[in-house]
């Protein structure tokens, strides 16, 4: 079984600054996918970024980037130039390569971006 741990229940950042959200996971799988999902106050879960474990290169999507350390089983999310609209719950999630697309989620980090 897989587990995903987010050790920061809450974080805050000033607008325009950079923040990093931590995520660690435990698995015996070699091929898998990692995701960061965002859940704003509207409750609509939105995919932020996705990483394939067999890819060495860290994924980036505009202001969002990850630091994927496979040996350390670490998958942190960096948000650059934070905006007020980034205020949300952020969930780290794990999916096995052949796992029926089921996601295992961490407990979430509540991020507040302050003006």
């Amino acid at each position: 079984a897989q587990t995903v741990t987010q050790s920061q229940p809450e974080m805050s950042v000033q607008e325009a600054e950079t923040v990093t959200l931590s995520c660690t996971y435990d698995t015996s799988e070699n091929n898998y996918y990692l995701f960061w999902y965002k859940q704003p106050p509207s409750r609509q879960m939105i995919l932020v970024i996705r990483q394939e474990a067999y890819k060495q290169q860290n994924a980036t999507e505009n202001r969002f980037s990850v630091n994927f350390q496979k040996a350390a089983k670490s998958f942190s999310l960096k948000i650059s130039d934070s905006q007020l609209g980034d205020t949300a719950m952020y969930f780290c999630a794990f999916m096995k390569h052949e796992g029926g697309n089921m996601l295992t989620f961490g407990g979430g980090t509540r991020l507040m971006v302050k003006p």
Binding site: L47, G100, N101
Partner: protein
């Protein structure tokens, strides 16, 4: 746009009632999921379905059942609601054969059992 629609955003039910949470997706996805979201615990998988009339237990199936009579619709059933089932319930869907695809979520049903 992919759309996953949950029938209610808020629901209040009494202990012992039978509760139906409905979810409909419009993208012809094979996979559908029900998750439960609780503070500090993230989302936990209750049940999933990879085809019509097919279902598999997730991590926390006790006290729940599901029904998938049509491809687009996946229902979560609380046979006899209890207060410890007060929670946020999220439905999701994804295509089956592309294993790295994102899941698409509904907006959640916040269920309160009194």
């Amino acid at each position: 746009d992919v759309k996953v629609t949950q029938s209610s955003r808020y629901l209040v039910k009494r202990t012992g009632e039978k509760v139906f949470l409905e979810c409909v997706q419009d993208m012809d996805h094979e996979n559908m999921f029900w998750y439960r979201q609780d503070p500090g615990l993230g989302l936990r998988l209750i049940y999933f379905s990879y085809d019509v009339k097919m279902k598999e237990k997730g991590d926390i199936p006790e006290g729940y059942s599901v029904s998938r009579e049509k491809k687009e619709r996946f229902s979560l059933i609380l046979e006899s609601a209890s207060t410890n089932q007060t929670s946020m319930y999220l439905c999701a869907s994804s295509p089956r054969h592309i294993s790295n695809t994102e899941a698409f979520f509904g907006q959640g049903t916040r269920l309160t059992v009194v």
